[in-house]
């Protein structure tokens, strides 16, 4: 992501819908000013003009209140209805994805996003999509309610457990933009986000073929490592007494009973899936649950990749 300054007053927009939403907001702001500034000015002016003791015309016999009442009830209301119609039109369009849309499946869980592209590639937190192509994202949650928010496209959608929700967009500007969870979902709600990268068609095809290499694998693995709860026991500062995993890969581990083993990929994998099988590190109690059937194969591969790259200096700071 490009460098951001501490203050930005205009959010980036990456689709024609986003540009129209901005016009809508701008026009509504103008109407708001038209409706409020006269009231503010009138109150201030009256407060000075009709101060107690100031000589002023206080004859109220010509005030016809019924007509005035009806007009200030209805005129602002009718003016704002223009915005109801305009906003509703954009909303209805945004609810009906075109038939040629490319469908990406997205799953939210505490506290990460996982996407699957139509060609089978999957990624964590960061999402890569092509430009000028309608993208239809089908969302669901594995735990609590989340919301998928793409401010550069001016859209968001709730991600609800037990049902599927949809969101679609057609980006017209490449770049890297922010992506958030916008429905409060627990402790690390504010960390549940990533980058939305909008690429040209060619770049996207390139990315698909090298998806594993192009995505920052350790970052994805770290997100999974936290999401499956590994970090809450194995990270420095955890209250549970569990072995630290930084620098574990490739080192020699002394197991309960004195046997020594090199922590290779096979060991890491087996230890996660079936921790009870005579692989307890010396000096620790057997409290880790089995993750067999809990972690799908692709997630497990990412976690193992992350552990392989997890050196003792890393892992203290969150990515």
């Amino acid at each position: 992501m490009q460098e951001r300054s501490a203050l930005e007053l205009w959010p980036a927009s990456a689709s024609s819908v986003a540009v129209e939403a901005d016009y809508l907001i701008l026009a509504f702001t103008v109407l708001t000013l038209l409706l409020t500034v006269p009231v503010f000015l009138a109150i201030s002016y009256f407060a000075v003009r009709y101060r107690e003791g100031v000589d002023a015309d206080r004859d109220t016999s010509n005030q016809r209140s019924f007509l005035i009442e009806i007009s200030w009830m209805l005129i602002p209301f009718l003016l704002t209805l223009i915005f109801f119609v305009w906003g509703a039109r954009i909303f209805v369009e945004s609810k009906n994805p075109p038939p040629d849309a490319m469908t990406v499946e997205a799953i939210g869980r505490q506290w990460m996003w996982k996407y699957q592209h139509p060609t089978g590639q999957s990624e964590i937190n960061d999402l890569h999509v092509p430009i000028d192509q309608p993208i239809h994202i089908r969302l669901t949650s594995q735990d609590v309610i989340h919301a998928f928010y793409l401010p550069a496209l001016r859209i968001q959608m709730g991600v609800v457990p037990g049902r599927t929700t949809d969101l679609w967009f057609k980006a017209n500007r490449t770049g890297t933009y922010r992506l958030y969870c916008s429905e409060y979902c627990g402790t690390d709600h504010s960390l549940m986000g990533g980058n939305l990268t909008i690429m040209t068609q060619g770049e996207y095809q390139e990315w698909l073929t090298h998806s594993g290499a192009q995505q920052s694998a350790p970052a994805a693995g770290r997100a999974l490592y936290e999401s499956y709860g590994c970090a809450s026991c194995h990270d420095p500062g955890a209250t549970v007494k569990a072995p630290r995993l930084a620098g574990l890969y490739g080192s020699q581990v002394e197991l309960e009973g004195g046997r020594k083993i090199v922590a290779d990929e096979e060991y890491l994998r087996a230890r996660i899936l079936n921790p009870n099988e005579n692989r307890l590190a010396a000096g620790y109690k057997q409290i880790m649950p089995s993750f067999a059937g809990v972690i799908p194969a692709d997630d497990l591969a990412r976690i193992v990749d992350y552990l392989k790259a997890y050196h003792s200096t890393e892992g203290e700071a969150r990515p």
Binding site: G53, A56, G87, S182, H189
Partner: protein
């Protein structure tokens, strides 16, 4: 009334012992002085003071939590508070401010104190029930505080399932049970007000001679009665699901999480008007008094209160445009939400027209009222932004929402509360506060509020989600500005607490009607005697019978 007869200049302290004569009973504050006479009182005025003290306490707790939140957000990386503690701080702020300050704020204090006075009654219809309401309120609120003492809750004040029922590891149950209990206090208060307003009006006090304050409290009481049972049921279902895994909302047990949002907002949107309507009532009393002019469009303003209380029951779905609700439902709820603009505009334009050609005194209550009108207008119109579907898709659950509802609840309710507190303070305590200090506090709060919350509109438009313990660095400057404003706002809150408390002992003694205001509450002494009026009042006049009249034509004789 006795102020003129006593030489207040003899010493700094002005001991308040009004002479007790045969025809003048002692005032309600001095009638009895034992603790028992306060905690077992059935006098609506003393119960109002009990409420005032307790909600001030909860306001302080909620404000400290807000200060902690603003402090933490000075840095983007969560270096001051970790995520868990940040979430607990904003939840505490929301729970305490909404349930234990805003909802009881004006009705339980001013409503309790003033409704019998304004309609010329000796007390509310059910004085013992009134005291019971206070005990229920305290029991529920303190029960909720158990969860804070044990370690806090992190669900947000909205308690969305299944986060609150299955995933939060914090002390959710005591908070849910406590808030459920507090709901019964609201229901009983509403019941008491409705019966009182129907049956205990003085001779001549017809419905269209009632002050707008009474009309808005009548409307509020209807919401208390009709909406509160729904949140009670919803919260009990949350307790059942969390404690006994009764599947209602969690799909893991066959429930539906969107159902909870429907039930929650079916109460919590009308609850916004529990907070807003009484404030409108306060402003409708202050503005005519300080303009010395009859309220413009009295009947329209009265009907607008009932209109708001009715429309508010049909707009709850606008909280759920992007939460999986059907598209048709979203369209209908969006359109209905725009209709709220009609009665709201009636109120604002009528206040402005009341000021026109009045004879204005810009004393503290009036300054608060003018601040209220400005902030309420901005809060209301930004509500229409949020009701616009395509805009909502962008700014839903961002800081725009946070700014919007703080303009309504702080800019609206809290300013009306403080304006009313300054307006009726002489009536409550029999003392005047220092007028210059009052004006300074009104100005400080207005400036501090805008510096705190206006930047949050921009943050929301830029796309900063709410309830974020950490945030991207490009949002830092506006967050620092907002936190800086919060320090001014804090000074503006602390200052009135100091000089108002000071005035209880050292303030000038208040006459019966220091503002030359109209209304029965100003026809009795300050403070009033236990049974409110020395001679039973009669009401021969139209409401707001101020020197400057409004000629109403066109078929609506007031």
């Amino acid at each position: 009334m006795t102020a003129g007869s006593i030489d207040a200049g003899l010493s700094g302290r002005d001991p308040h012992t009004p002479e007790s004569t045969l025809d003048r009973p002692r005032d309600y504050l001095h009638a009895q002085s034992t603790l028992r006479s306060w905690f077992l009182t059935t006098d609506h005025k003393r119960i109002a003071i009990l409420y005032l003290t307790s909600i001030t306490l909860f306001f302080i707790i909620g404000a400290v939590a807000a200060g902690v939140v603003r402090l933490a957000l000075v840095v983007p990386n969560g270096a001051i508070l970790n995520n868990d503690n940040y979430n607990k701080a904003f939840t505490l702020h929301g729970v305490v401010m909404v349930w234990f300050f805003l909802i009881p704020s004006i009705p339980a204090t001013f409503g309790n104190f003033l409704i019998p006075l304004m309609i010329g009654a000796k007390d509310l219809a059910f004085p013992k029930l009134n005291l019971t309401s206070w005990y229920i309120f305290m029991a529920g609120a303190l029960f909720t505080m158990i969860s804070v003492v044990l370690g806090g809750i992190d669900t947000g004040w909205t308690f969305y399932a299944p986060l609150s029922t299955a995933f939060s590891n914090t002390w959710v149950l005591p908070a849910l049970i406590g808030v459920t209990i507090v709901g019964f206090s609201s229901i009983l208060t509403g019941l008491n007000f409705v019966v009182t307003i129907h049956t205990m009006r003085a001779p001549g006090m017809t419905w269209f001679r009632l002050p707008i304050f009474v009309w808005t409290h009548y409307a509020t009481s209807l919401i208390f009665l009709l909406a509160t049972p729904v949140i009670t049921v919803a919260l009990i279902l949350l307790v059942a699901e969390r404690a006994f895994h009764v599947g209602v909302f969690d799909p893991a047990y066959g429930g539906d999480p969107v159902l909870f949002q429907h039930l929650f907002w079916f109460y919590s949107h009308p609850a916004v008007y529990i907070m807003v309507l009484p404030g409108m009532g306060v402003i409708s009393e202050i503005v005519p008094a300080f303009a010395q002019k009859k309220l413009f469009g009295y009947k329209f303003v009265a009907y607008a209160a009932i209109g708001l209380a009715s429309v508010t029951f049909f707009v709850w779905g606008h909280h759920m445009f992007v939460n999986g609700q059907s598209d048709l439902a979203s369209l209908v709820f969006s359109g209905l939400s725009f209709a709220v603009a009609v009665p709201s505009a009636v109120k604002v334009y009528n206040w402005t027209a009341t000021i026109h050609k009045g004879s204005l005194r810009l004393d503290t209550p009036m300054l608060y009222a003018m601040g209220y009108i400005g902030l309420f207008v901005l809060g209301g119109l930004t509500g229409l932004f949020l009701a616009t579907l395509a805009i909502n898709q962008h700014i839903h659950a961002t800081y725009f929402v946070v700014a919007h509802f703080h303009y309504i609840m702080v800019g609206g309710t809290v300013l009306a509360f403080l304006g009313g507190l300054h307006f009726w303070w002489p009536k409550f305590t029999g003392r005047m506060y220092n007028e210059s200090w009052g004006r300074v506090s009104a100005l400080l709060i207005f400036i501090g509020f805008n510096v705190t919350f206006f930047p949050q509109f921009i943050l929301g438009y830029l796309g900063m989600p709410r309830r974020y313990a950490t945030y991207p660095a490009e949002f830092q400057l506006l967050n620092v500005l907002s936190s800086a404003g919060a320090t001014i706002l804090a000074a503006g809150y602390i200052f009135p607490m100091l000089y108002l408390v000071y005035s209880i002992w050292w303030g000038r003694r208040a006459p019966g009607n220091p503002w030359q205001a109209k209304g029965l509450e100003w026809e009795t002494t300050s403070p009033p005697p236990t049974l409110n009026f020395i001679t039973p009042p009669k009401v021969p006049n139209q409401p707001y019978d101020y020197p400057i009249k409004v000629t109403e034509t066109g078929g609506t004789p007031a």
